[in-house]
């Protein structure tokens, strides 16, 4: 049983890194309600796993990315199973929730970014999220369980596909 100091420490760390929760939730959720549910689920799982967190082994943010992405991918897959057969293609609704609580209008770049992430599968979405968050390749490799070379290759490939798409020679980048 964990005590009050543990919970206070966790809440402090969570408060500092809450942006990670919402970014991950925003990338994998469909709609605001789903995003809030997913954010809750991520926070809850972080707390459940917090007893095993060792700051000598990993930074809290790295640890949190792992938990958040694992929860979010599982959530996305579970939800896909739940809506399977309902014949509703919802992919393009992805990311509509990130920053949607603020009144700013989206410019073209944000629209392009949303469309770009919406085309990726769950795993490549995790990869790109970490890349956009400017995490070093070593950390991305650590979070995902890949080699650094593999991470670099994948990112290079996505960049190339994106470039090709801009030139009109690539239809989509789903599998990347």
């Amino acid at each position: 049983m964990r005590g009050k100091p543990d919970q206070q420490r966790f809440e402090a760390l969570l408060g500092e890194h809450l942006g990670i929760v919402f970014k991950v939730a925003g990338v994998y959720a469909r709609g605001r309600e789903d995003r809030d549910d997913l954010a809750q689920e991520i926070c809850a799982q972080c707390w459940r796993s917090f007893a095993g967190f060792d700051e000598r082994r990993a930074k809290f943010s790295t640890w949190m990315y792992r938990v958040a992405l694992n929860v979010a991918i599982s959530h996305a897959r579970r939800r896909k199973r739940d809506i399977a057969g309902q014949c509703e293609v919802l992919e393009t609704r992805h990311l509509e929730t990130i920053g949607a609580d603020t009144p700013e209008q989206d410019d073209e770049r944000l629209i392009a970014l949303r469309a770009f992430i919406a085309e990726l599968d769950d795993l490549n979405r995790a990869l790109i999220l970490l890349y956009l968050e400017e995490r070093p390749y070593a950390e991305i490799a650590d979070v995902l369980g890949l080699s650094e070379t593999n991470v670099a290759t994948k990112i290079g490939r996505i960049k190339q596909k994106l470039r090709n798409r801009m030139l009109g020679t690539e239809p989509g980048i789903m599998g990347a």
Binding site: F22, R48, L123
Partner: protein, 225 residues
């Protein structure tokens, strides 16, 4: 737009998230930390039930065989139902232990690829287990009936039912299982309006298994390429 340019757009989105303090407060208020542990247990109740069921079957069949050990040699046919039950019990226990191993010790702080592989493997195993329950359970029901009669009236009671009747019922069970698979594959889409029936149809038809195996392939590709 280049991927690197997207980082700028992403930063802007990040700033919006930071400004969205209301969300943060909402989560912190709703986060009832002490109540979160029970959620994980939901993952385990099904294998736990199967494990308990397997143990009970093992105990009953084992006890029956031990009690009638002296007469098995003279009428080995009468031991078939209990031996089958024993084998089923062992298989059930084995699969539930495997499920515990896959899901029970799951640690979400491990790398994404490793955890997702374990979750997909656990799901594939769960679906196979459900399919086997149905596809073996229906044709084998006369065997369970004979065993129940033996438990109630003694070892020799396996002769109480006409063998032809048993065979026909086993065949009927088999036909029913095949028909269920056909209906699930043919009309599964229509059943998807009901969450429970839809999920059941998906599992019987094997679509869930295909999806889970697809996820495993996707993970392998992601890791390899």
């Amino acid at each position: 737009m280049e991927l690197d340019e997207m980082k700028q757009a992403w930063r802007e989105l990040g700033e919006r998230v930071e400004r969205s303090g209301a969300l943060a407060r909402q989560v912190q208020v709703e986060l009832k930390l002490d109540k979160t542990r029970s959620a994980l247990r939901r993952w385990l109740w099904l294998p736990a039930t199967e494990f308990a069921f397997g143990l009970v079957m093992l105990w009953i069949a084992g006890f029956f065989l031990a009690k009638n050990f002296a007469v098995v040699g003279s009428a080995p046919g009468g031991a078939i139902p209990s031996v089958l039950l024993l084998l089923l019990a062992m298989a059930t226990i084995g699969v539930s232990i495997r499920q515990f191993a896959l899901v029970g010790g799951i640690d979400f702080t491990l790398p994404v690829v490793a955890i997702q592989r374990r979750l997909s493997a656990a799901r594939a195993l769960r679906i196979r287990m459900s399919q086997c329950d149905l596809l073996f359970g229906l044709p084998l029901w006369p065997v369970f009936l004979v065993f129940a009669l033996q438990c109630a009236g003694g070892y020799a009671n396996y002769r109480a039912l006409d063998p032809a009747w048993l065979v026909w019922n086993a065949l009927f069970g088999l036909a029913l299982a095949v028909a269920l698979v056909f209906v699930a594959r043919r009309y599964g889409g229509r059943l998807s309006r009901s969450p429970v029936l839809g999920k059941l149809a998906e599992e019987i038809a094997g679509r869930g298994l295909v999806t889970a195996m697809g996820h495993l392939d996707e993970l392998a590709r992601f890791e390899r390429e």
